[in-house]
Symmetry: C2
Subunit: 347 residues, 2 copies
DNA sequence: CTGAAAGCGCTTACAG
DNA sequence: CTGAAAGCGCTTACAG
């Protein structure tokens, strides 16, 4: 005999009473409850997770699905801990365990998710890095499981998402550059299939238009999260009849290659080419001159996602009556010295 | 009626047969199995996790407990993704799900772990960042759950661990510096309570002794994972009657502050002070001159940990007959320009 | 090769 | 306030 039965026998009460005492059911004599609690503590007893889930129909756990790829292996993760910290704090306060579910890039992310969903392994899900078209969202919508995504998608509708305020960042960056006199502004965009690339690019176009600037496909540079695209970007920007005078970066790390190439050509960031980065990444924080960029709270992002999820879950919906949440976490500009007024050279 | 019962009724067979077909039990007519598999696929059926675990007594999942602190929020995590990728690949190949369990620094890590253990939420555990004295190890030893730690500890014995080869790194670093003529070698050590700090410090002493060099407490600098200890270190090393000529860093990021301070004093890394870093971190990869440091495969670390765990688990012990594994993942030197022969100045 | 039935360890109406 | 019992959705000897 084991588990709750052993505890019950030991105490001379029924398993029902033990269960009630442990679960905070009010219909238990206070003295009995103390006796049970004490014994459980002493014997290190905790209800078996599987049995509990089966009987209750809930797991008291939430999954956070992340994807493991080469790129994220060296950088995105830096994004990860802060976000998880925010989520965990909120969920723990409501008795929910956060289980981070890492999906290898080599396995199909749809199948991966489906397994956890159809097995009822978690009560809710948070998805990272949504795609423009993302079948996972359709899957989650058609099943009855509460979920929230980190990032928007064109798939599905009427679901909760939290995202970065790409639009706000781009508006601030473009306006700042325009004020400094820039009329030809280049941009880098991520070359992967996550939706944020498309959003960033669209915001770029929208904000050029707002300021009456022409969009030029030649000034859009797809990049990966690595520093060595600097040569082609700098040369591509400057060696043309109508060079750009500024560039907005999606991946901040690109600044390293740009700085390097500029130095080779005897040029200076902020004087000969204005640079505004997006997110303040670890690897460029010490670059000189400092990159003008945007800062945000990763914890807040995680917190917002967790709250939005709790608003979907039956157990916590009353405490979070916000319904569907679709919101963007703001970023604030951190001025550096990598941007400045248009430099009047030869032309 | 739902779950397996519904599937069984639909197919006109018993739940036992469905279960067998789905679980690869050989005692099933091949045609029957196909029929079941097809229907399960079509209806999106997968066995309920809780019911399955309860019936089988195993969860088919492994927990990787990590801790979330301020420090790791900005850096250690960079360590994280690669390791998880390695673990996940190995575990998935054996039908095990990897659940990353993030523990907030504000909650007691012992209690956190205990809950997962006593509830039987996972079949095995991997612990990160062991302490010199680590009650979690005693807990795991006294329960029957298989586990592996990332990092050694003085607690417990006869358990499997995987760690970095701090000794090898230190031996290589000290020997390299000694060959370059250095006799006064400083070191930075982490100021937290993880065991690797103690190991690193001990390896430092051992290797000084091996080369007949005196140990001097004044040359040991506790640091945190941030760049701004450079001033006190550089000044502390150089402004003394018997200055050190070289320093070995635990946290590579410390190099940034050291470089800065050296520059302020008109000195050069590699010429006026030789610097060898430990692990090649993202944030200093682009420092000039490049820091001489050590490289390792995070994936290999994760892979080794997962394999060591499989060797403890009943289901996989036959495929991994290695027994207790206690091994150190090697790192290889990546020469930079931050170290060089002793510079003969004035004295 | 298949099915009826017991059992995994809990929770929770139901009855008292 | 407490207990006996049914039930959660599976798996697995056991019998055929």
């Amino acid at each position: 005999m084991r588990g709750i039965a052993r505890l019950a026998r030991e105490l001379g009460v029924s398993t029902a009473t033990v269960s009630r005492a442990l679960n905070g059911n009010p219909n238990v004599n206070e003295a009995t409850r103390q006796k049970v609690l004490e014994a459980a503590q002493r014997l290190g007893y905790a209800a078996n997770q599987a049995a509990r889930s089966l009987a209750q129909g809930v797991t008291h756990s939430v999954g956070f699905m992340i994807e493991l790829d080469q790129e994220s292996t060296t950088s995105t993760d830096y994004f990860f801990m802060g976000v998880v910290e925010g989520m965990q704090a909120v969920l723990a306060a409501h008795g929910l365990d956060l289980l981070v579910l890492p999906c290898a890039k080599s396995q199909d992310n749809f199948t991966f998710l489906q397994r956890f969903v159809s097995r009822g392994a978690v009560d809710g899900l948070i998805l990272a890095e949504t795609r423009r078209i993302d079948r996972r969202i359709d899957l989650l919508k058609s099943s009855d499981i509460p979920f929230v995504t980190l990032g928007r998608s064109d798939s599905g509708s009427g679901y909760s998402w939290i995202d970065l305020d790409f639009e706000g960042v781009m508006a601030t960056a473009v306006e700042r550059l325009v004020r400094l006199g820039h009329r030809r502004i280049a941009v880098t965009v991520p070359s992967n299939d996550a939706n944020y690339g498309a959003i960033f690019a669209q915001a770029y176009r929208d904000n050029l238009a707002r300021h009456g600037l022409d969009f030029d496909e030649a000034l859009v540079f797809p990049t990966r999260r690595r520093e060595d695209d600097g040569d082609s970007i700098v040369d591509g920007i400057l060696d043309r009849p109508d060079p750009a005078t500024a560039i907005i970066l999606f991946y901040e790390v690109t600044a390293i290659g740009i700085y390097r190439r500029l130095a080779e050509r005897g040029l200076k960031p902020g004087r000969d080419l204005s640079i505004i980065g997006f997110r303040r990444e670890e690897s460029v924080r010490f670059l000189m001159p400092q990159v003008t960029c945007f800062q945000m709270s990763l914890q807040d992002l995680g917190t917002a996602a967790a709250r939005a999820l709790l608003a979907q879950m039956p157990m916590t919906v009353r405490a979070f009556p916000s319904g569907i949440v679709q919101s963007r976490v703001p970023l604030s500009l951190v001025p550096g010295e990598s941007d400045g007024p248009v430099c009047l050279r030869e032309g």
